[in-house]
Amino acid sequence: MQIDFHYYATYCAAYLAGYSHEECLAICYSAQFVDCCTRTLLSTINGPDSAATTQLKLEMMDARTDILGLQDITRIWASFHFLPRDLHADIKKGAHVYKEKYRMICGPNGDLLVKTVNLAKEKSLQAVGLAMHVLADTWAHQYFAGTPSQVINNTDYWFYELIPDEENPTDPETGSKNFTERRVTFRHNPVEKDDPEKGLYVGTIYQLQESSVMGLGHGRAGHLPDYSFMRYKYLPAWNDYKEIIKDNPSDYYKAFCQMVYAMKYLRGEYETFETERYDTKAVSPYEEEIRAILEKRQLDSSAEWKALGERLSGEEIPDFDEKRYCGEYADAKGEDKVSTFLGNFFSAALAQKGMVTDQIFKSGNLLAGYSVEYRKSKLLGIRDFILFVEQELKKRRSEAQS
């Protein structure tokens, strides 16, 4: 997903869930900031290195592909963009190393999604926004894994876009939609732009190495999972030559309705967060308009989502500016940094990364690295996480005292 959904659509969902305009802005800024918080950006404001929630293309090229480098990449991409659906998936094929990778495949409504949403409960608005980013991406990025792996993420020439038939939109007998199939051509020059009219898209190049960063996530399928209008069918590397049909407009609509439900839960309207629940009732007055935005063949739907959001709240939604809160964080001294806008975001990011890594580790899977409990060993832990845990404990103690 891109800025149109993570920023503007998240604003709309937050507003429908009952948040005020200002709260919605904080939530949608945080949701979009997940796609901006790189180590390069963190280094400019002296932020904690481990709070990185994404990586730039050249950071990826420069990334080490030894065991530590791969674990670092997996922690970032599996925690924030490709949340694994089932860490204990029972498969009857492949060696243990294959099973570990298979279990990292992203998908909606998994146990980790419940833990992600619960982690944001009674936390900052930044934590809510971050959780909404993760939730939305489980729909867009399903069937791909947030770890470099050819055996899971590779695609081949069997890749077709399904374009709605404009002359005969529906089958008169069955009422189902008619589509024209068009073979997708992937180019490998990252400077080139996607061209939906001609069916030319940019994707990563095939590499022989299993752990090449080119095989991370949906790189081999280009940005197709990120476009709301896109429908396509392809042969994923892991599915025994069985075709998968991906219907983004439908998935994105479900993602939107699930975000509304999840944020209502976070605001206290529901006792528990359950999977497979969507707040279609709250969204129904706008369903036609939202589906029209999602179906429109364009690479960026920000203008349409922004118009809808402004009509909902009657307030102006400022354009996203990734540097909006950087100055505040950079200028804050010592412990004051923690209570800044970005300080709260970094806390939420470290908590999410810690939780996902811990769950992956406890499932017997070492792809995201080791997780140690604070009380058992401080010496092995990455310094950023130690500091985060100590701040959390301090906060909990002061809350308990008050």
Binding site: T40, M61, G94, A95, Y241, Y370, G381
Partner: protein, 177 residues
């Protein structure tokens, strides 16, 4: 990183340092030894591709390709072994390819970091310049086998240091309930 992986990194790093030391002390016939190392790495690559096929890639769409590639690497490794007389040429090609790629990536990273006003641009630029200098030196000394051995050894020492340093790096994520 597990304790075994840490020890493994240290052992491999020390081994690389020793190999580099031997090459620097005895540079005569160094190119032949380097070619043997390259041939060994191709053979290892071939075997590892075959292991990759049997453990993972056989479950993947189009995975048979890996089987053929593994066999091809084994074959090229054996072929390289038979080229000991042309060792200087192959070592030069290897050095040029390696340093050209590393230099280009480091300089691009540096320019990107500069655009983001990051403080890390200088170290990336320095590494990029060093790689380009090594590339130029490889071209300049293409016919001097002793210098090629020294250049290869410098790269080996750098890789060994990085590997040993990574063994001491903190790597676990700390988590509280």
């Amino acid at each position: 990183m597990s304790r075994f992986q840490r020890i493994q990194n240290i052992v491999i790093g020390v081994g690389m340092l020793l190999a580099a030391g031997c090459l620097i002390v005895e540079p005569e016939d160094g190119c032949v030894y380097i070619l043997l190392l390259l041939a060994a790495s191709l053979l290892i690559r071939g075997v590892s591709q075959l292991i990759y096929y049997f453990t993972m890639a056989r479950c993947m769409v189009g995975g048979k390709l890996i089987l053929f590639i593994g066999a091809a690497f084994l074959d090229i490794g054996l072929f390289t072994l038979s080229l000991a007389n042309e060792s200087g040429f192959f070592v030069t090609l290897y050095l040029i390819g390696f340093h050209a790629f590393a230099g280009a990536v480091n300089i691009l990273r540096s320019l990107e970091a500069m655009r983001y006003k990051s403080v890390h641009w200088k170290s990336n630029m320095l590494q990029g310049i060093v790689s380009i200098l090594m590339l130029v030196a490889s071209l300049f000394f293409a016919k001097d086998e002793t210098m090629l051995v020294y250049l290869y050894s410098i790269g080996l020492i750098y890789s060994a240091c990085v590997r040993i340093a990574s063994a001491f790096k903190r790597s676990a994520v700390v988590f509280i309930q």
